[in-house]
Symmetry: D2
Subunit: 398 residues, 4 copies
């Protein structure tokens, strides 16, 4: 066996996520720059002395849903975060093995009701509660807690818009102002300094990641952006609903929430911010027989004189060096199944038959990059850790 | 055609397909006019004396593929068509039970190689062979046979276009001129008189059925028609390909053939004919984990002053009284699973968030209305029978 | 029953179900005798004069569940049965298109609450209600109605056993005595004369069909009958339960109700009756990701001196001429997918590696032969019609 | 945030797999002893100084199949193993992104033909080739390489038996003698010293893990062991076969290889060794619509006087402290979906209705504990590393 010069064991942590990326070898299917990981690699070093002996105590509020379980799955391999509190009102008193048997090997605390939760033993929380109830609960949390909220409650800057789409007035408008929108690759610097992060929805993540760089660079028209999105069923949560039974979902597809899906204002807010204009999109989600996964197929008009190559180059430079957002080689089509279980977003851009138009495809795992994975990426940043800690799961295929 | 001694059975045939439709009761979810079935009802009467004592002997060429099997499934309940010849070169000598165990209860002839086929015992054929090989085989068939060809070989009027998309010159250009395009509800009268029908592709069927009436009525713009289509895997046939293995398909979705799918010229031909112009569409198919089923989600710009209601009314009157094409009640979303196993096309039209735009959704079973069902509908017409014979299978749900 | 003016249609009915079966041709994969259909063919003739001009008015109680919908699907192609009443308490007032969109093309009555049901317009009912509630409702029905009850409420002869397994005393013990157990191929003659038929459960159907003839012929030992059964999810009904969500079922399998499944007493009753002894079986059901379908893999010890060939011959003669129960050719393995959507039971018997043992495999569609199909087969018999009317659906594959 | 006393970063590696297990908290659903991990924890310490600065260079032979890809997925998170060689004859010259797009983010070598492979840069190989070809290739490998062979070629001690089941004489009988059977938890000490490990088949792993301890303790009868096993489709490999197409597999189940499956001699060998007798089992595998996962439902007779509790206690003590084999709490049913993507085997034992009998259920992911995961577990042992390195993936659910 050959020895390497890695020297100190601390690098090992970086190893999991990083060392292969620093090899000079080019990868044929996935664009990235060899030097891209340097800033993060440096960060590892600086973090090392300060933080590697620490444990952050994590609370998961609403731990009996799929996003809560996914937080627990990811944290099973996080070197510094350990779960000390799990709340689930309807399953209070139950163990993790009872609620999520796939996690029985994890030594996790039993579920407690949120009203019985003791936050004195908690440094940071992932809030996986349904929208509506979340505002008041977060308002009541100790101020020193770092919070990543996975609900929709703090995503919309405009609380009037919140009321319009969610049918009730916002109950924590002052917190809304403080909340930072957690689309990591776009708002990384703000997230680092945030106390409360509003974690993006799954559809908005898959749509904004490719579109924001193109809009900022004025490469696509703001009119007639047409988004045909396809989602796995876990996005609908674990609630027992007739329409989500196996018998009702398997072997079929349908559109839903046409023009009325609640992710619309979030998508339009993000794209409008990027364009400094009020943008309206066409957004049609589809529910299909897969547990996880999401594809957004986005049909755009290019600005005059712009080519598909220009779009490609822009996305290439926007995400150069990013660990979790990958522009595939030209002509390679992203598949949802190739990111399943991982925090990756794969994307690509294709010419349309209609001159002047382009087709953008992006895929994520809705429960990881579209929810709990991005949430962890954000909390890592908020606490000064490398953002990939706990996110080393490679996609599960087949 | 050979006569049988079946006697008079006309009323029963009407029973299976018709008698419930003549009830005056309105149906809440599905638009139709109570008088719509009258012309066909009359036809039943006129046909009765002439044909109901006959048996038509059917050949199925390429019977070991899914469309061939589907023909056999449908004909199991056809009162007049009986299969006397099945060809399958690679499975020559095998019984139906060996090739398609779900049909073991049917008393069907063994497979023979096409070169050994005896057409003296055949009145009409369904040609389920792959494109390319079909032209010469059909050229060699006895001239008195009625033929429905399910391949792409006779769909394109322009044989140069055929060569462009299929990479080889057309080998039966004279037959191409004779062939009638078999989109039943649109070309019914021509089909009645045809000897050779080019049965439409599945995507083109699901797309043209809603779009042709709207285009003919000048209700939508011809530019920027964007079609995002989703198909089950049976559309790819029964050939053993790595990319269609269960392990490669289950629990995921991906786009394929972006801008290059071979159904594009067929779609554009049909829409161009309807509009008397050269129309280019954006067409992106997706492969998803379902065995059967197809949804086309179509994004259109309405002509100035036109509303979604106008589109709805146009489709309503276009398909009033049609047995197999159903415009759903307003706001009801078509699901592929609700037409599975049947010859129905369900469709609806929705407002888009972007003013002036509309979203059209149509669903079919790709193997039935998208292939063998429509083929049988056509042959029924070509032979003067009610077009619904053998097509009474209701959708299988769940 | 009300008369209609349908005239004479007898031959056509035979056509759909019968005429191909009378061909002399042997079928390689499926055993049957050419003369087997004669008795039924004769029956067609005798029935013709008496009944073919009639319409039987059908009520479906509990029509919003999967078995109710399946009754409606099958009756769409029944020449004499027409649905005039559908009850569904929680969906009272809704149309069929709202409750089951795949049936929108059918002109069916709206749902009413059971308490508002008018039975004056009904000749026979399918009772698709949950066990427990069924007894009192059936007790209250007009005495002239023919009833097929799909619940478990009248299946167990011994009402003490009912109470033991269902946790409540039986509320209609006098009706229990009258009820005939509706395993059609075994109890056909009793069913013909019955007013109330207790339709078998899906597991018991798939298990008793192969075992009863073997037990009656003393070919297998009564001890250590081990049944490993696998079911699709529709058997669990349409109720919204977390454990039946797509996300909880897809891509996995698990045993459930080990030793405690409520079909056990029904299975043991049937096998005990066949053997004139008290028989105890090992029965382990498994839930797996399919909407429909059921396989029972049954491990038995053969009686001394008995061979697998003996078992095969016994099953062959027991089901010779049966339209819906098919013993496959030797070595051919039944697949659930090859009976999907149909009323068939396919079975076969295989040698075990352990000398003296055999393995029996039987497959059905749990919603058809395991529920609504067999129920219709029974009602046909109870009303003097050929038992295959409305049951001509061939399996849907792929 | 609270500090822990973990001290040195090297523990972090152990952390991923170990530190939660050392907590005193009892876990309700999964039996284990708090002290169980001590031996391995000590091992971590001893290994630390010796090995943590080393890199082991790994070759993956047959890297274009599912087990090869799974090795690559797992090694992505292994701190010491790095892949330097990947062979795939039919895909020679292709990059990993082309062959397995879900691994595009990994910087892996391109595929080479086995004949062009350079082993000078390799310390150990996983051999993922088909049986038959494997023997000669392994015979030709440099003698200093550690080898884990995932094929069946070295599993059977008796080369006559190999010839009988595989239809060809064994070509490396001398290596066969050297090979150690890699059922890790049973043969751990032998594996540590091995150069060539024959990695067990998936069925044999799921069957032997529960049965061997029970047989060794004389708790079950050796006669009439009946195994009904259910497998996901990935076990059939990535070869393009009609019978494994999505359309042929989805929504159905069937038995296959009844009495003739090639895993039979391996299962019987293992159980015979444990019992010092020649044991014959009944083994019936079923193929079902899931990509990964395997359940064995095993029906056994208990020895006179033995109870289900005795079986439970025996399994409990046999696997006490094991990281990857988990006996669930009494009455909790293992689901395949709860181990998907992980190296766990979950098992439990249940009373049968028939007195004196018991039902044992065990579940694994066929590609992980049933193939590549156990292979890695073995190579870790062979090279003196903690056996859980690279195997920290928690199950992916939903």
């Amino acid at each position: 066996m050959s020895s390497t010069a890695l020297g100190s064991v601390s690098v090992d942590i970086g190893l999991l996520g990083k060392y292969k990326r620093t090899r000079p070898k080019t990868n044929r299917y996935c664009v990235r720059s060899p030097s891209a990981s340097l800033p993060q690699a440096l960060e590892v070093t600086s973090v090392k002395e300060k933080k590697l002996t620490e444990t952050v105590r994590i609370g998961v509020l609403g731990a009996s849903g799929y996003t809560g379980a996914e937080i627990a799955r990811l944290l099973a391999n996080h070197p510094h975060f350990t779960i000390t509190l799990m709340t689930a009102d309807r399953k209070a008193g139950q163990s993790i093995g009872s609620v999520f048997p796939h996690l029985i090997t994890q030594d996790l605390p039993d579920m407690v009701a949120i009203k019985d939760a003791d936050f004195s033993d908690v440094d940071a929380v992932f809030c996986c509660l349904p929208h509506g109830t979340t505002q008041e609960i977060i308002k009541g949390l100790p101020k020193e807690l770092k919070i990543v909220d996975l609900s929709a409650d703090f995503r919309l800057h405009n609380i009037d818009e919140y009321e319009e789409w969610y049918g009730q007035p916002h109950k924590a408008p002052e917190l809304q102002k403080e909340a930072i929108y957690g689309l990591t690759e776009i708002y990384r610097e703000e997230i680092r300094k945030a106390r409360l992060v509003a974690n993006p929805g799954c559809y908005p993540t898959s749509i904004q990641l490719p579109l924001i760089p193109l809009i900022k660079a004025n490469l696509i028209e703001l009119r007639n952006i047409i988004i045909d999105a396809k989602s796995g069923v876990s996005g609908a949560g674990r609630g027992a609903k007739e329409q989500n039974l196996y018998t009702e979902i398997s072997e079929g597809i349908h559109s839903y929430g046409i023009t009325r899906h609640r992710h619309v204002p979030e998508i339009e807010q993000g794209l409008s911010d990027a364009s400094n204009s009020n943008l309206i999109v066409s957004f049609t989600p589809h529910l299909m027989p897969m547990k996880r996964g999401m594809q957004s197929t986005i049909y755009v008009e290019m600005a005059p004189g712009v080519t598909v190559d220009d779009l490609y180059q822009q996305l290439s430079s926007a995400y150069e060096g990013e660990e979790f957002v990958k522009l595939l080689k030209k002509q390679v089509v992203p598949h949802t199944r190739h990111v399943s279980g991982s925090n990756y977003c794969f994307m690509n851009v294709f010419p349309d038959r209609i001159p002047g138009r382009a087709i953008i495809v992006s895929v994520i795992d809705n429960l990881v990059k579209g929810a709990s994975g991005q949430a962890l990426q954000n909390l890592n940043l908020m606490l000064g850790y490398p953002e990939n800690l706990g996110l080393q799961y490679q996609p599960l295929f087949p």
